[in-house]
């Protein structure tokens, strides 16, 4: 038996729904939920959705925006799917925020099963897990897009799309959000990245507001971008390290690419990269090096 099964399944009727949800088209009659239904957590809600295949870029974006969201006492709502959804839930819990998950299946038949721990964590921290389906309903191809209207419907601040391909479910959520007159927020990405094509398209068509800084989610004031590297101490670097920091500041590279650009010996590059890893100057993911 899973531990989260200790929380009983309760039902909330349409009349008790938060205001923002009642207004949407095809509003469900009732919702099943586990956890404590605290009305206050639905006062200020941001929906975060995105690709099932999260890249390092997506992870970094979520890490970057989350403190701002939590410090503004905003609840994070998402779809409990792997990828961006799970990352958003987890990251929110990390900072002690409240998060709400809307399942595309019944409350006892959730998918993906790896998220067992997440389920429990959401409940333990005062969050709610919601579903419009009967507890033992198994997820189907249509149930995932269908629940998206609840994800966007519960949001008040807006629907933030972090990463998403051109044919992804995140675009369906964006479309539903537009129909529900919600603010759509989108994080741009490299134009040659598959997982950012959807988000870029939303910005291009004017459907979404571009988010380049955490503040953009809440405010419409345009300010100068923050200078990030001001606090990093690059004073004790040697020649090669300096070159590498310069290179990596513009984009993440593999050891081979650095070797090709600098025309230095691979032994020297490898050695320096290891030392920089140890000094926390860079980090490594899947063979690519990033400025930390």
């Amino acid at each position: 038996m899973n531990e989260w099964e200790k929380w009983p399944i309760k039902i909330i009727e349409q009349k008790d729904f938060p205001k923002q949800l009642k207004e949407i088209r095809l509003c469900p009659k009732k919702l099943f939920y586990r956890g404590e239904w605290d009305k206050n957590i639905f006062d200020k809600v941001v929906a975060i959705v995105g690709s099932r295949q999260i890249t390092r870029y997506g992870k970094e974006i979520i890490e970057k925006i989350m403190p701002e969201i939590i410090s503004r006492n905003t609840t994070v709502i998402s779809g409990f799917m792997y990828g961006v959804d799970s990352q958003a839930h987890w990251e929110c819990l990390k900072y002690g925020g409240k998060t709400v998950a809307v399942l595309g299946s019944g409350l006892n038949e959730f998918y993906p099963t790896e998220n067992n721990k997440l389920y429990l964590n959401i409940l333990e921290t005062g969050g709610v897990v919601i579903s419009e389906y009967e507890p033992n309903f198994k997820a189907t191809v249509w149930s995932f897009p269908q629940r998206n209207r609840i994800v966007s419907g519960l949001s008040t601040v807006g629907v933030l799309i972090v990463e998403g391909g051109i044919k992804s479910g995140s675009l369906i959520t964006a479309k539903l959000g537009l129909e529900q007159k919600k603010k759509i927020l989108s994080v741009p990405g490299p134009i040659n990245s598959k997982t950012s094509q959807g988000t870029n398209w939303l910005i291009k068509t004017g459907a979404a507001k571009m988010v380049t800084e955490p503040k953009d989610i809440f405010e419409d004031v345009i300010s100068m971008p923050e200078q990030e590297n001001l606090f990093k101490d690059y004073s004790n670097l040697n020649e090669v390290e300096k070159i590498m920091i310069d290179l990596l500041e513009s984009e993440a590279l593999t050891g081979d690419e650095i070797c090709q650009i600098t025309q230095k010996n691979i032994t020297e590059i490898s050695t320096t990269l290891s030392m920089m890893l140890m000094k926390d100057l860079v980090t490594e993911t899947d063979g690519k090096f990033y400025i930390s």
Partner: protein, 512 residues
Amino acid sequence: MLNKVLSIANVGLKGIEIEVEVNIADKGFPGFGIVGLASKAVEEAKERVKTAIINSDINFPNAKITINLAPADLPKDGSCYDLPISVGILASMGELVLPKERSYFYGELSLDGSLRHTRGVFLLALLAKEEGIKKIYVPRMSANEASVIEGVEVYPVDNLKNLIKHLNGERKIEPLKTVNVQDIFDDINPDFDFSEILGQEQAKRALEIAAAGGHNVFMMGPPGSGKTMLSRAIPGILPNLSEKESLEVTKIFSITGNIPPGGSLIRQRPFRSPHHTTSQIGLIGGGSNPKPGEVSLAHRGVLFLDEFPEFGRNSLEALRQPLEDGFVSICRASGSVTFPAQFMLIAAANPCQCGYLGDPKKECSCSPWQILNYRKKLSGPIMDRIDLHLIVPAVDVNHLMIGKNEINNNEKSEVIRKRVVEARKIQSERFKSLNHIHSNSDMKNSHLKEFSNLTGKANLLLKQAVNKFNLSARVYFRLIKVARTIADLDKSMEIKENHIAEALQYRVKNDD
């Protein structure tokens, strides 16, 4: 009349002397029978022997012929008893005089009376030397295998007629001259030269380190990034086998029939690349009469496993013993045998099932669950036993071709090979007092204390790395071994900080 001829049977990699007793009885119903746990191949010798003798213009006796292969309780397999059986029959018929000194006869007969290439001649010569046998008679096509063993006269036999004349003193067969091991050279013909591979500097350097220290390598990269090409280029940077190693390898190749007709000692390091559908027995060795598998054929050489996660789970798990101990023990009802299996493992895999995870251009079509499952096969004990872990990134097609006016500055395999040979020399000097250790990767943890020779700074860096990357004890020791090899390539007695730092680039990369 009864005659006894000596030959051998192979059990694992050991030869056992066999007495072939041949009796032609004057009385009794005419017939031809073989006893002494003969397999089908030996049983069929009857027809070959009979026809070969007749085709050598000798009348086959119309009498009761009984052959006994002693010791009678040891199973005998193979076609090598054709020659001793026919020699025994011919002696009983009075057609030839058996040599007075103990000699071995070994080889398969063709129906026309000539002798065919037979596997296992090298082992025959080894046993002959051990048992103090001076003369062996073997097929000419296989005789070169035996010619490197000193103190044994090897008579290359073309056909039965010649042998009869030789034994009767009518026309002598000249024994082969003993060949010095050092004089045998195998041409090295790798499929690719390292200079043909563009980019992939890190991978090339890693393979150089691997070749120098005999380390295992794991490569992960999308399809078309050059994993297979890199592996196929490895034989070109490996040093030749030493004399001792060469004898070990030849033994295995001889018993499995991998030495071509006319071939002699194997000097080139083996490179084996079994397909991923290879059965566990094919890979590890086995069978009711145990035979060496691919891991043993790759002994002292390279075992390249492409599409590593596609290999059966059992096969991969079975690799653990040879990877750790350098040999495989196979136990069957008929007994247990041990085959050496000290190889350099080169494993290659895609980042996920479809191959495009993390590829900037093509989208990966695997679900996270599939990726998890794929990676699961790669995790755990096997990966812990691999010293160098590499990510081979996709290469931009534009960089693949060298323009007409551009000069290829890449190092040739030959240049790399020289450095590898130098580093191996340092190692053989280091391990000369130890029996089974030839390279840094063979070192046991107890040897590390004696040979690692870390500087204070290197030690400090190592300790920091252990904490930062959460390295297991096994990975920690592997790291030192790799750093030892890097230091050897650098001709440094001590392992310095920069050697450790470079080794760290090739550590196991755990996903967070």
